[in-house]
């Protein structure tokens, strides 16, 4: 996959949810949007990037959201 694009896409999702008044809803929304719409190799690559770099280029809301839902986001197998 194209990591740069994945980072931009994740940030776009984060920016949308960042405007929600309920922070918990924003974090869950960000993580679950990625969970529900991203194919496993996309999630795998993004998570690997976070593991390798601490999430360079990713907005704080995305990092916080992914950290909170890491298990659910991790593709099985």
């Amino acid at each position: 996959m194209n990591l740069g694009k994945l980072i931009e896409m994740a940030n776009q999702i984060g920016r949308y949810h960042d405007a929600l008044p309920d922070r918990a809803e924003a974090l869950t929304g960000t993580a679950m949007h990625i969970r529900r719409f991203w194919e496993p190799r996309m999630r795998r690559e993004l998570l690997a990037h976070i593991d390798a770099t601490g999430g360079a280029g990713l907005d704080p809301i995305v990092l916080e959201a992914i950290a909170a839902k890491r298990t659910e986001l991790q593709p099985q197998g």
């Binding site: 996959m1 194209n2 694009k5 931009e8 896409m9 776009q12 999702i13 920016r15 949308y16 960042d18 405007a19 929600l20 008044p21 949007h33 969970r35 529900r36 719409f37 991203w38 194919e39 496993p40 190799r41 996309m42 593709p75 099985q76």
Partner: protein, 957 residues
């Protein structure tokens, strides 16, 4: 040989339209008692009683006119001989349609008509299909006493300028049906009557040829003409048709019903079907006339394979092609993994075909890598409307617009993209409905004869969400919202949150004016009109969805409708205008990689279990790759094989260079199509497709209306498209067993709660069905969310405006936005192979005079258009339809390379590409771009490889 379902319904012309009244009156016509709606004409009442009064200027698609004087009747208690078409039926009337006196009067009228009409009936192209001829017979005309020596019109010159129909004024009786059809049905007002009395002539424009006039070639005048004055050239050539079959147009999302009028197994003409609920007997230039592509010589009718795209094609049998494709997909999965292959279906496919495509991917490939072209058009609609209202579909039927008091058109160009619906919309506006247009361009609907927008919000591309927030701000802060509706029907907490959000000062029209370019006073006026003008309906198109905030804009539209109570009844609603015929249907059928048919997520165990039980296979629960993700996966080497039906991603998808690089990176591309389209030039297997005339199935239009597609000729390549997918699935080791597409629909109905009442038999019975159709709505659902939203309570969602990252700068100072025009359709594969090219034979770049002058560009000059993605070259068209700073083009011709310059930016929620905002520079050009040179070279090479294949119809060089 398949039995063709011939239309046995007799089209009765009642002479005048059916009034809307629910009150009735009862009268007697020739002694027959008849009850009709109040407001019906005597002529209509007579026809209802089975008594056909002779007529020429009357037809039931037009208001009564009373000019021909043939329909005179006698009414007890009335003096003289009133025209039955203009006389309202009244309770207790006693009407006589036949008497000696009436016969004499009618013969006198007919005698005058015929005295100035060529008596060439036997060689006339309308012989046997001419109302004048019929009426001469009906009134018993036996002689014409006036001779032909006097002044007449018999030498009038024929106008054959229109490629599809001819106009022979020598045969014209000046009944004005054509003029009235152009006004009342189409709403273009291109025809008038020039002169008075005997000198009266029908005049396109100002006595111009049809092609030089404002005529949009919808065919309404041809349909209305009672003689051979206006007649299809195909009928002139082939003669009148022998029978007809009702089917559904394969172009836009209006989904017009047509009669395919046949001679043997050849279509002679397509005429709009008056009982079609989407179009009510109207049509546009595409559906009415542009069907010749179906038998165009470019059609490829032999399956072909090749190892590499640099190899010549080898024609093979169906079995060999299918076996080869299946073996390649199996090899790739074995070598690179189960997720290394996938498929893309098209909104040009039937419901049954798209259903089978996703079933093949899920059951035979064993993954969810299925996507459809709605990805690049209306995927944000699905997301936005599901989130807010609970269902991924428009809320109304088309007829709902006739109850609208305020019509809002956002990012749509209905007169070009959805012309038949635009005619209905314009009719309502002529009746007094107010119009608000939100569009960067001054589209035709903004100002056309007898139609003018009250407000045109000519926004900067990319600022839809800001404008929607500003509208909401005005509605909430000025107290114009319908709190009673919103609190009763929606989640109160989300409503309160949303009101707080839109009330913020930064969402005011004044604060956003610099960003949106729309004066605050215009936004305020439009908001007040929308909220307080009565029934207000929003119609929107790809100008809303094809943005980085496409989904947010759809959410914003739904918010506005909920906040003002404009949902759940006729005349209101949220109405996505779908670009292609089966966008709604292909989405309904589970063509997205995250959801099964009926918009149910693959993560849902119970839904998967339902399909697993029926399909007898274990299903993958992870979402699959979307189209743009497939390209990226192809380029990283993890996605190797693709099956495409009816979709031409190498032309239609953004950033063409990226798309073609991805195609070249794959090892097996299987294209199922009518023609060697741009994507097929990168393919390894070509499976010949069948046109809509060659197969059975259903399309679902933008109003959720499921209509039959009926086979009128055998597939040129021997297989209907659904049969090809069945064969491929079987060769992949997952046998599918269907004898007819009706069995596929039965399976869909058994698995999809909104379709449980749908079957071919039921469609036959009702004519068409709008889903949901189930126990709760056995006849279908014209208007959704009447008593509660599908999700229960409507959900308001804050819609923060986030500017696109695609920004203008000194290097790319203009914004390019793309769209389409009336005569061409999508990638043009169909319409470019018809005479429609006479209207649009190349894509042009619209540029404002100011921007053109600054650059030394004159109208017609070749210009280079460059963006961060690429560069192409087009001819300029200087027009103030676009604002300074904005340029516009279409993408109908592949050599234009419109998508070479569009970028990969996409909607945050769905990856729908941001076609509508590309920062570009425009400069004078001396030659085509490098990409265009490469394109020409590659195209020549690929056509050469095709020509070397034996037994395949060759495209023209």
């Amino acid at each position: 040989m398949t039995t063709i379902p011939i239309n046995t319904r007799q089209d009765i012309d009642y002479g005048t339209p059916l009034p809307a009244s629910t009150e009735t009156v009862t009268l007697r016509v020739d002694g027959v008692e008849v009850t009709v709606p109040k407001g019906s004409s005597v002529m209509r009442a007579a026809a209802t009683a089975g008594v056909m009064v002779p007529k020429l200027c009357a037809t039931d698609s037009l208001k009564s006119f009373g000019s021909c004087r043939l329909c005179l009747v006698e009414i007890d208690g009335r003096k003289g001989y009133p025209a039955s078409c203009t006389t309202p039926a009244e309770a207790g009337m006693q009407v006589r349609t036949q008497s000696k006196k009436l016969g004499d009067l009618r013969r006198g009228v007919m005698e005058l008509y015929i005295s100035d009409h060529p008596l060439d009936c036997l060689t006339c192209s309308a012989n046997g299909d001419c109302e004048l001829q019929d009426m001469a017979g009906a009134v018993g005309l036996r002689e014409v006493r006036y001779g032909y020596e006097g002044e007449n019109h018999l030498d009038a010159t024929k106008d054959a300028s229109n490629p599809y129909f001819e106009f022979d004024p020598a045969k014209c009786i000046v009944c004005q049906r054509c003029v009235r059809a152009c006004e009342e049905v189409q709403g273009t007002f291109a025809l008038t009557v020039d002169g008075r009395g005997f000198a009266s002539k029908i005049s396109p424009g100002q006595m111009e040829a049809f092609m030089e006039s404002e005529c949009v070639s919808c065919g309404a005048c041809v349909q209305a003409c009672p003689t051979a004055t206006l007649i299809e050239k195909t009928v002139v050539d082939a003669g009148t048709p022998d029978y007809d079959v009702v089917t559904t147009c394969a172009y836009c999302g209006v989904g017009c019903s047509f009669k395919a009028e046949m001679k043997g197994r050849e279509v002679v003409r397509m005429t709009p079907y008056k009982d079609g609920m989407a179009n009510h007997g109207h049509s546009c230039v595409k559906g009415r006339f542009a069907w010749g592509y179906a038998t165009h010589k470019d059609r490829i009718t032999t399956p072909m394979i090749r190892k590499k795209i640099s190899d010549p094609w080898t024609p093979v049998s169906w079995d060999e092609a299918i076996t080869y494709a299946a073996s390649e997909f199996k090899r790739l999965q074995s070598q690179y993994g189960r997720g290394s292959v996938g498929a893309i279906s098209s909104s040009r496919c039937t419901n049954e075909e798209t259903y089978l495509m996703q079933k093949l991917v899920r059951a035979a490939f064993g993954n969810n890598n299925i996507d459809t072209c709605a990805r690049v058009c209306h995927s944000p609609t699905g997301f936005g409307l599901k989130t807010t209202l609970g269902e991924s579909a428009g809320t109304q039927n088309f007829d709902s617009v006739q109850h609208a008091d305020v019509i809002v058109v956002i990012g749509a160009n209905p007169t070009d993209g959805h012309p038949v619906f635009a005619s209905a919309m314009k009719r309502r506006i002529r009746e007094g409905a107010k119009l608000i247009v939100i569009d960067p361009r001054r589209t035709d609907i903004v100002r056309s004869p007898h139609v003018e927008a009250s407000y045109h919000l000519q926004l900067r591309p990319g600022t839809n969400v800001a404008v929607l927030n500003a509208l909401a701000h005005v509605i909430v802060t000025e107290g114009l919202s319908d709190d009673a509706f919103a609190l009763a029907r929606c989640e109160p907490a989300s409503y309160a949150q949303w009101k707080d959000f839109v009330s913020r000062p930064e969402n005011s029209p004044e604060a956003l004016e610099a960003e949106t370019w729309v004066p605050a006073s215009v936004v305020r006026g439009a908001a007040r009109l929308y909220a307080t003008g009565g029934n207000a309906a929003i119609y929107y198109g790809l100008g809303v969805t094809e943005h980085s905030q496409g989904s947010t804009a759809v959410l914003g539209i739904a918010n506005l409708a909920m906040a003002t109570g404009n949902l759940g009844r006729p005349g209101v609603g949220v109405n996505p205008l779908r670009g292609q015929n089966n966008v709604q249907g292909s989405c309904d059928m589970g063509s997205f990689p995250h959801e099964l048919p009926g918009y149910r997520h693959v993560l849902d165990d119970s839904v998967r279990a339902l399909f697993e039980g029926r399909w007898k296979v274990s299903l993958e629960k992870e979402p699959g790759l979307r189209i743009p993700n497939m390209f990226d996966a192809a380029l990283d080497g993890s996605f190797k094989g693709l099956y495409l039906e009816g979709e031409d991603i190498a032309q239609s998808d953004p950033d063409t260079t990226h798309v073609t690089a991805a195609l070249e990176a794959m090892e097996c591309i299987v294209v199922q199509d009518l023609f060697l389209n741009e994507t097929a030039k990168f393919a390894h297997v070509f499976l010949p497709g069948s046109s809509f005339l060659e197969k059975n199935g259903t399309f679902t239009n933008a109003e959720r209306r499921i209509s039959r597609v009926r086979k009128v000729m055998e597939p040129l390549a021997g297989k209907e498209d659904w049969e090809v997918t069945v064969a491929l699935a079987t060769a992949l080791g997952y046998p599918m067993h269907y004898n007819h597409p009706s069995e596929i629909m039965d399976e869909i109905a058994s698995l999809t709660p909104t379709f449980t009442g749908v079957s071919y038999a039921r469609i036959e019975e009702l004519g068409s069905i709008q889903w949901p159709c189930n126990d709760r709505a056995p006849d279908g659902t014209p208007v959704m969310h009447e008593h509660e939203f599908v999700r229960g309570k409507g959900k308001f969602v804050p819609t923060q405006y986030v500017p696109t990252t695609e920004k203008v700068n000194r290097k790319y100072p203009l914004i390019l936005t793309t769209g389409r025009i009336l005569s061409q359709y999508n990638v043009g594969a169909q319409t470019r192979r018809t005479a429609n090219v006479e209207w649009h034979d190349e894509d042009r770049l619209e540029i404002h005079p100011h921007d053109a002058e600054e650059r030394g560009i004159h109208d017609g000059d070749q210009v280079t258009v460059s963006s961060r993605a690429g560069e192409t070259s087009l001819r300029a068209h200087i027009t103030d339809r676009v604002q300074p700073g904005i340029v516009y083009t279409t993408f109908h011709h592949p050599e234009s390379g419109a998508n070479v310059i569009t970028t990969e930016n996409s909607d945050w929620a769905t990856n729908c590409p941001e076609y509508k905002v590309t920062a570009v520079q425009v400069t004078p050009a001396l030659k085509g771009s490098e990409w265009q040179e490469r394109f020409q070279s590659f195209t020549s090479e690929q056509l050469g490889l095709l020509e070397r294949a034996v037994g395949v119809r060759s495209p023209k060089p």
